[in-house]
Amino acid sequence: MFVLNHLWIIPLLPLLGAAVNGIFGRRWPHAVTNSIALGATGLSFVAVLELFREFTHLAPANIPWVQTYLPWIAAGGFRSDFSLQVDQLTMVMLLVVTGVGFVIHVYSTGYMAHEGGYARFFSYLNLFMFFMLVLVLGANYVVLFVGWEGVGLCSYLLIGFYFLRQSATNAGNKAFWVNRIGDFGFLLGMFLLFRTFGALDFAHVLPAAAGAPADASGQFGTMTWIALLLLTGACGKSAQIPLYVWLPDAMEGPTPVSALIHAATMVTAGVYMVARSHVIFLHSPVAMTAVAGIGALTALFAATIGLVQTDIKKVLAYSTVSQLGYMFLACGVGAFSAGIFHLMTHAFFKGLLFLAAGSVIHATGGEQDMRKMGGLRKKIPWTYWTMLIGTLAIAGIPGFSGFFSKDEILAAAFTSSPYGSTLLWVVGVTTALLTSFYMFRLIFLTFFGSARYDEHEVHVHESPRNMLVPLVILAVLSVIGGWQAAPALWGGVNHFEHFLEPVFSTAAVVGEQMPSPKVPEAASLEFMLMLVAIGAAAIGLYVAWRMYIQRTGMPEKLAESLKAPYQLLSGKYFVDELYAAAIVRPLVWISRNVLWHVVDEQMIDGAVNGVADVSRHTGNTVRQTESGNTRSYAAWIVVGAIVFTSLLLWLAVR
C-alpha cells in the first residue's frame, strides 16, 4: 500500500526532475540530463504500475481513494487542500500518461539529441508530466485546475521551444491565450459549483450533484450553466470548436511534444474533465446536446480540413482535433467510458503517428511538407511500418485498437437514448470515411510513389534506435490497445467499460435520463453499424489509393475544378483570419486608439491637464488686474469698497 499512501510520489518525481534539470541541467552532459528526466518519468511510471497493483486490491468502498495533504487555500468561506485521489478513471489516465509519457521521453532523447536547449526541453517535459499527473490525480476542481493551467503553461513553453522562431512563439502565445478563454469558463464554472454546492471537492460535489434535481430538457438551470461553463474550459483545452484554432499551430513545437501533449495527453484533459463531471452533465440535457453537437461538428469540420493539408504534422493535428471531437461526441451521448476508451487508444495510435511523423521529419532533415516527400517506404522501413499500423488503427480497420473504440462511439451515437441520434451517427461515419481518406493520403504521399525531394541534398536515413523502440512499443499498443473491449463485439463483457463502471455508474441515478442499457436484440443492429463503419473506412482507403497511387494527377484536377471548396478547405475555412479580423485586431485597435490614446490620454489626462490649463489660464487672466498701474489698483479698492459696503448694508437692512 506504499504508493496508495504516498500518492504524492507520482507527480513529485517528474517535478524534481524538472527542477534539477531546469536549474542545473545547462552545465551537464546529455547523459546526466537523460538519466534524470527518464529516471523521474520512469520511476513515476513504475509507481503507477505499483499503484495499479495496489489499487486492484482496494475494497470498492475505499474508491475513490482520497489523500489530503497540506491545506492550500483556506480563507473566508473557501477551503481547498492539496488532495489527490485515485479511482478507476484516474487509474486509466495515470497509466496512459506515465506510460505514453515515458515512451515519448525515450523517443525524445533521440529526436532532440542535436538540438540546443536539451536540458531545458527535458525540464519542460518533466514539468509537463508533473502537471498532467496533478491534473488527473487532483481530488478537487482547484487542484485539477492547477494541473490544467500547468499543462497549458508547459504546452506554451514547448510550442515556443524554438523561441528564435517568430512563428513558434506566436503559436505558443496563441495556445495559451485560447486556453485562457476556456479557463475563463472553467473558472466561472467552478465559482458556480462552489456557490451551488459550497465546496469543490469531487467527493463532495459529485454526490451532491447526483442528488440534485436535474434540469429539464431545454431548461437553462444551474446545472446547465455549470456544465456549459465547464464545457467552455474543456473546449479550450481539447481544441473543440470554436476554440480549436490553437492546436494546428501548436505543431510549431518539437514533434515529441506534439505527440505527448498535443495528441496523447494534455488535449484529452477536456475529455477527462467532462467525464469526471459527468454527473453534472447528465443533469442537463442541454449541456449533453451541446457536448455531442460540438464534438460531432468538430470531428467533421477538422476532418474536412485535414483532407487537403500538405504539412504532415498539420494533417495529424487536424486529425487530433477530429478525434477529440469523437471523444466529445461519446461523452455527449452519455458513453463516457467509450470516450475514455477512445482517449486511450487515441493516445497510443496518435502518439505513434506523431512520433513516426517525427521520424520522417528527422529522416528528411526537417522537411514537413508531404509534397516534398514520397517513396520513403524503402528507406525508412521501421518508420513506415509503424506508421502504417497507426494509420490502420486510426482509420478504424478491424482488429486495430481504433476500430474498437471508434465503433463503440458510433454505436452509442446511434443507439444511446435519449442523447443519441441518427444525425450524430451519420456525422461520425462520414468523419470516419474522411479520416481514413486523409490518413491514407498521408501514407501514400509520404511513403509511396517517387521521391519528390532532391536526393542529393537530403540524405534520408532511418532514425536511431532510441527513436524506433518507442515507435514499436506504441505500434504494438495501437494494435492490442483495443482488445480489452473486443469481447463486447461478440456480446461478451467489455473489460474496459466494466473497469470504469464504478465511476460512471452514478449516472444511473438520474432517473429517466439514464442512457438506456444495451438490449440484446440490438446486437444485430450494432453489427450493421459496424459494417457501415468498416465500409466507410474502406471507401476512404480506396479513394485515397485511387487518387494518390493510381491517378496521381487527379488531386490537382480536382482542386482545379472545385476551386472554391478547395481553397476554403486549404484555408482552413479562414477561421484564423475571421478571428483576427473580428476579435483580435479590433481589440488591439480599440485598446490602442480608443482606450489608450483617447480615453486615457485625451479624456482623463486631458481633463486633468485641462484643469491645470484652465487654472493657469484663469491665473493669467486674473493676473491682468495686476497691471502695475496704481490707478487701476485704486479702482479695484473702490470696487471692493462698494461690494463690501453694499453687502454689509444689505445685511444690516435685512
Binding site: 493676473r623 495686476e626 497691471s627 502695475g628 498701474n629 496704481t630 490707478r631 485704486a634 473702490v638
Partner: protein
C-alpha cells in the same frame, strides 16, 4: 441754524470728491492732495459728530489725524521726490515697472 447732519453730508461729499480725485488725477502729488482732501472730510465728520454728541473726543481725534497727515505728508513727499529723481516723471501711470 443748520442741522449737524448737513455738515456730515458735506463731509461725505468732500470724501467722495477725494475718492474721485484720487482716481482722476495722474500726478502723484495731486493724488496725494486728494487723500488730504479725504482726511479733511474725515475731520469735518469727526467735529460734526463731536458737536452733535457733545463729546470732545472727536476733536481730539481730529488733532491726531492732523498729526498723522503731517507725518504722512513728510514721508509721502520724500517718496515723491525719490520718484521724481529716479524716474523723471510724476505721472503715476508711468511708474509701472512692477506689474503682473
Amino acid at each position: 441754524m443748520v442741522p449737524v447732519s448737513y455738515y456730515v453730508v458735506l463731509s461725505a461729499v468732500l470724501f467722495g470728491l477725494g475718492i474721485i480725485g484720487f482716481l482722476f488725477k495722474r500726478n502723484i502729488i495731486t493724488m496725494f492732495m486728494s487723500i488730504e482732501l479725504m482726511l479733511n472730510a474725515v475731520n469735518l465728520a469727526f467735529i460734526a459728530f463731536s458737536s452733535v454728541l457733545g463729546n470732545l473726543a472727536g476733536q481730539v481725534y481730529v488733532f491726531f489725524v492732523i498729526v498723522v497727515a503731517a507725518a504722512e505728508a513728510a514721508v509721502g513727499l520724500a517718496i515723491v521726490i525719490l520718484i521724481a529723481r529716479n524716474r523723471k516723471t510724476l505721472n503715476v501711470e508711468r511708474v509701472n515697472l512692477l506689474k503682473l
